[in-house]
Amino acid sequence: MRVEREKLVLIGNGMAGVGTIEQILKLGGAYDITIFGSEPHPNYNRIMLSYVLEGSKSIEDIILNDRQWYEDNHITLHTGTTVVRIDEESRQVIADNGLSVSYDKVIIATGSNSFILPVPGSTKEGVVGFRDIADCDAMLAAAQQYRTAAVIGGGLLGLEAAKGLVNLGMDVTVVHLLEDLMERQLDHTASSMLQAELKRQGVKFAMGKQTVELTGEERVNGLRFSDGTELQADFVVMAVGIKPNTQLAKDSGITVNRGIVVNDYLQTSMENVYSVGECTEHRGTCYGLVAPLFEQGMVLAKHLCGAATQPYEGSVVATKLKISGVDVFSAGEFTETAEHTVISAKDEWKRTYKKILLKDNMIVGAVLFGDVTESASLQKLVKQGAEMTDEIYSEVMGTGCCGGGGAKQGMSVEAMADEEIVCGCNGVTKKAIVDAVTENGFTTVDEIKACTGATRSCGGCKPVVEQILQFVLGDSFQESAKAGICSCTTLSRDEIVAEITAKGLKTTKEVMNVLDWKQPEGCSKCRPAVNYYLGMIYPDTHEDEKESRFVNERMSANIQKDGTFTVVPRMYGGVTTPEDLKRIADVSIKYDVKVVKVTGGQRLDLIGVKKEDVPKVWEELDMPSGYAYAKSLRTVKTCVGNQFCRFGTQDSMGVGAMLERKYERLDFPAKFKMAVNGCPRNCAESCTKDIGIVGNDGGWEVFIGGNGGIKPRIADAFCKVKTDEELVEVCSAVMQYYRETGNYLERTSEWVERMGLENIQRVIMDNAENRKELAARIDFALAQVSDPWKKMLDDDNTRSALFEKANL
């Protein structure tokens, strides 16, 4: 018999509503859930739109829950459907398309809309808010077509929009009513420093200007201000604030003030109807930031699941600006009055500013500019209303030395309640993180990220996650140093490469000694990385360090979990011969290979070769190594091409084999795959390869940065070339540029996103000389490589040390 479950309807498919549903699911709430969303997309992370605009993330990247998630959780989802009324009498939720769904409980999470200034011209074409994907798309499109933009509103959102548009190449002026930017979060000093920094980054400002009209015909062409002055603009973004979206609640007869009025359990004036997020008003406050949404959602979820919960008593909000290179933070009170005691430090040379406000010796607010490393602990202290002590003072003002600071930071984390939200983007509590550490034995932020989702999005909570890790793990916590390549060093990849070149360092040992590694011989992360960088920098003289290679590369075969190995011979372009196949079969039988498998890249895996037999298998195969184990060119997948295929326009097999022969054996930052197709039918799946090549009637089209692995990514169109010679030159240049700038273990899919496609195109396509130099450098490096299987067969000492087992 099927148990009748209560029907829960969520109106609004945004972060607040879906965050609440996630909590309900975690708590095992027994509801039949239906969700309505006005936008056509599944649930996405609105606060990440700035990154989409900035170009560092795509819209797909900011999807929080894809449609599969709804399906997996048996949630009925209606996207592109707006709910117009809740009928209390018949207990029905009614949508604009006539759909009605009956309910036992309703959550309204309709969020907010951009507030559009009620001035003449505000409905003209080219005027948008900055709230959703559609706005973001409009801004991206405008940047393609127009040059000048105005952003009205110098708050958080306006500044992020402005910086995004500057990055997209527009001439941007921020128009602000007051003399201070972000006046609701920053004091005058921090605000001036912020403005100066943004000016340096190319943003213009029109301060103290009240917009009275948007001019133009159909489309906007400028702004007129109250003082009679004008500003030309082809595109206008309104970021003057948000307006809780309360229409539905009003039309349903629910009490609405500025927002939908709720009590401490998020109940509205209508029975069984609740509300969370930006559409609500709690104790007179409407929140426009993300952390409160999750705090509200947590209380509501528990309430709906019948779990014990504290009432929601409001949130202390903290602000961080998501613009690269501009670090601003504020929490609690920031404008000083007579009743405040002020601690402040301003450094005009380093361009940093720090201010802490005390009331009766309690910490009630803080502002940071330029250096926000203390933001996490300050946010905590403000939230707790902690009493200022000598310890806290020396910690946050950085007077004492750094020793012991860690332990003190741990204290504020210790005081944090289990249910407190650490990651606002993904609604992860302190307890979830502590559990991940204690139950799963995780020790790094990355592991916590993979398990709980904390730090997955904006990354703002990373310092707190680190503090929790440190607190839980105690001495075994290894500081995940600032952007260092591993816990052995605080240096980044670029710094290490620069030091190697500048100081002429030659071995990993030298690098680690000179650059003051914490573990003198490094770890399993940095040793292989440094060995790669040395080989990349000195292709002719670096002596490869076997002891710094990961097992597969050291043994030139893939280790399996039982300690046997997989041997994969080369098959150039995926083509073999009956003779070779026969030999593979004979050797497989002789050495008792467990499984012969065709790989995804058109090769044959000989799986389960005993370690001591591996060199004999190589010898008897007498074929080149297929490098199935290496951070190097794996395979060039091909289709049949014009030799046989009736659609083929190019010789994909021939070109594939040629490319594979040319580039095999060279080390790359990560494994590297290619495909060559004879026609646009793309049978060899170029779209998921590091370099994908598609033939057409007149030549080749080159795609880069595709990946079918953990994080699938479709390759970007890079260029078109006419001849095979041009094709080789472009491939060489792309590969070498990746070799020289890629982080170790960074696939091209991540590399292209980090470097920017256009930048790579500029370096390689717009500069023929540079392209030729890159190609010459890879040719030089390629001249140094040799087949590792043959080499090992000739080196008795190493072969015996690596492969032979002695029996006593």
Partner: protein, 106 residues
């Protein structure tokens, strides 16, 4: 029954490359022998304390620590102890070097 300890000669110094493990089967036990960069020798049972098992000899050696080749657990070669957050211990055996010979006592 009283157990008697036996000394086995594993090979000579040149059989062991610095920071690269070598497998030697000694009667019933398969050992992984490591030579650290300061020419100390360590012997551990060649079986990862990870629940899924697997060999240890192919790991990366750093100082007196071994990063196991399959699961990247960090193991102290001197004590056999797995470093936190992972837990476990691998059996260790004393190694002596006399002249050119490398010996283990089982």
């Amino acid at each position: 029954m009283e157990s008697t300890k036996l000394k086995y000669t594993l090979g000579t110094l040149q059989h062991f490359l610095p920071q690269i493990g070598r497998v030697v089967t000694c009667g019933p036990v398969e050992l992984a022998i490591f030579r650290t960069s300061d020419d100390q020798f360590y012997a551990v049972e060649n079986r990862s304390p990870h629940p899924k098992g697997g060999p240890l000899a192919e790991g990366i050696v750093s100082g007196y620590y071994l990063y196991d080749p399959l699961y990247d657990w960090k193991i102290d070669l001197r004590t056999g102890e797995v470093q936190a957050p992972d837990k476990g211990i691998v059996a260790t055996f004393p190694v002596t070097v006399d002249g050119d010979n490398v010996n283990v006592i089982l």
